[in-house]
Subunit: 354 residues, 2 copies
């Protein structure tokens, strides 16, 4: 059933039917009702392909996942972010296009998306330190929103990000307040922008309290259970082991916990752990009381927000870039306790800008 057939059935011109269905004012209300009823009755839905050609809009947004196809490409954070964004697209009847390509094909993928007109805009996930996608997209003129801020890029672009620096600054301060002095940082890969910001929050908090930075306490790697376990195991076995850990993710935290317990210590009593909790659907931080003390920010919510931002930008491509900095909340769980140093009076975090 297409427009013409429906119009014929109604004894109306396709034009009128189209206008009636699309809510144009210049159509008699009685006619509109007749048309809407008939459309519903015959289960008529305008053909998307035709609409897209006629309007010149794709009504679709692209998410390009690139990486080593043999290994990791879809991490749980991407997945939840995508789920959040997908909700937002669905609400306005936009399609979400997922492109899975090898890293070498990434640039070509964006260019094709643009040249072939498959999408009106794209979402950039997992922003790197000096992400080449930002200049690329500006260059080819494809509207985009990035999840994360790329340092090193002078240009202004639209992003949604968590205040990673402040989150880890507060977490570090919290541990310092508890009397911890040897705090290990089990970070994500340092080429990821967020990992650098988290490290800077950690470093700055230590510096502000005059606690010496021990580079040996800083690890960086993929945010998997196993890599958290490995890092913690090594650190705990060393002389003068840390009394607290700052972990980049729920999975790392679980690995760290395993290492702690494997070494005969008890998490929360002997060793404190704070994780960054992305509030992932399938990696909940406990059911009622949080297992881990954590800086929490829902990545799914970030996806929703970023998607809405992107839709707005697509609607008004010449508007100024949009920014949204989300704050993570510090939630207290069972994984932290007093450290060995005399407990200093808690200082409120100074709300320094990141």
């Amino acid at each position: 059933m297409n427009l013409k057939e429906l119009a014929a059935k109604l004894q109306l011109s396709p034009t009128t039917v189209s206008r009636a269905l699309n809510g144009y004012p210049e159509v008699n209300e009685a006619t509109r009702e007749r048309v809407v009823a008939a459309a519903r009755k015959h289960n008529y839905r305008a053909n998307t392909r035709a609409i897209r050609l006629a309007t010149g809009r794709a009504q679709a947004v692209g998410h390009v996942l690139s990486g080593n196809l043999q290994a990791e490409i879809m991490n749980p954070i991407f997945a939840d972010f995508i789920a959040g964004a997908g909700e937002a697209y669905s609400r306005v009847d936009y399609d979400m296009l997922l492109s899975v390509v090898p890293i070498e094909g990434e640039e070509a993928a964006y260019r094709e998306l643009k040249a072939k007109g498959n999408v009106d805009g794209v979402m950039v996930q997992g922003v790197l330190h000096n992400d080449p996608r930002i200049p690329l997209l500006m260059d080819i003129g494809l509207p985009f929103v990035a999840h994360g801020r790329a340092t090193g890029t002078a240009v202004d672009y639209s992003w949604v990000d968590v205040n990673n620096r402040r989150a880890f600054l507060r977490a570090t301060e919290f541990l310092l307040d508890l009397g911890h002095r040897r705090i290990a940082l089990v970070n994500g890969l340092e080429e990821m922008n967020f990992a650098q910001r988290r490290r800077s929050g950690y470093v700055d908090a230590l510096a502000a309290r005059g606690v010496d930075l021990d580079p040996g306490l800083m690890r960086s790697g993929k945010m998997t259970e196993d890599s958290g376990f490995q890092a913690a195991q090594v650190l705990l076995a060393a002389d003068n082991p840390p009394t607290a850990f700052l972990a980049a993710s729920m999975l790392s935290g679980m690995g760290i916990r395993r290492a702690i317990e494997g070494s005969g210590r008890v998490m929360g009593r002997d060793i404190s752990v704070i994780i960054f909790d992305d509030d992932l659907s399938y990696l909940r931080n406990g059911s009622e009381v949080p297992i881990f003390t954590a800086t929490r920010s829902s990545v799914r919510e970030a996806g929703r927000i970023a998607a809405e931002m992107l839709l707005k930008i697509i609607g008004d491509p010449d508007g100024p870039p949009q920014h949204r900095l989300l704050e993570a909340e510090l939630i207290i769980g069972l994984s932290t306790g007093p450290g060995p140093s005399p407990v200093t009076p808690p200082t409120s975090s100074q709300g320094q800008t990141p």
Copy 2:
């Protein structure tokens, strides 16, 4: 740059240019080269929207994720499956459409996809016991492939599945061979088809050896770390606790391990654990030697296979339904060891049909 402009530049008709680019035989080879060179030079790519309208094909495949938007919707298994499928689509230049909708909107989502012509086919993930999507899709005539077999449905449809029954049958036999008699099953939600098949493998293996089934040893729930932990904690605290666990996923297994270690026991020595390992990118079962003994089958690979199947079906919609049953391999890790009973001579698994 569109076809007409390119044709004008080449002093050729749009027809010839189109045929040259699309590999039709009736065009002079010299002309074709000239056209291809010009297309490359001007970075011409045929507009997808126009192609889709002209050919009547969507060149796209849909994946509908439905669920409770407030809670879980994108689990790690879906994510990896999608990544695998996405690779296959990319290779043939098909778009992958991800629709994230509330459970109530699921049926409407499929109907719209069909009526609006957004996709040529859909993938059905997470097949339920008596999945309503199967008859729905057959009814509206949208080609599909399901990841999993729905029982209770008489109709024949295309699917890709793992031999879940055999996997758990073998795993159970393996534990029995090791001398375990009290084996707990920490299963996925029983409304999921695969969970039922796994249980049947477990039940049948016990029955074949004349080991009494203790319903108290069978748990079912979401496949999260926490739910695995909860289940194992309760079971281990009971009188006559199990000496071995069969877990539905890596995450459940991690939770079980935590409960085991939390109770002062050692996994692999005091208590054995076998998991079903979906070989997820971000939940690797150890780096070199597997941490868990496991029945392993890559869900990402399943995604690839299912996508290829779907593409084939789209290409030949009137062909017979396709089926593909994948076997999981049983890999030995560090989480299993001898049980309390006298060890029976290992019997090879009989290769019974599922």
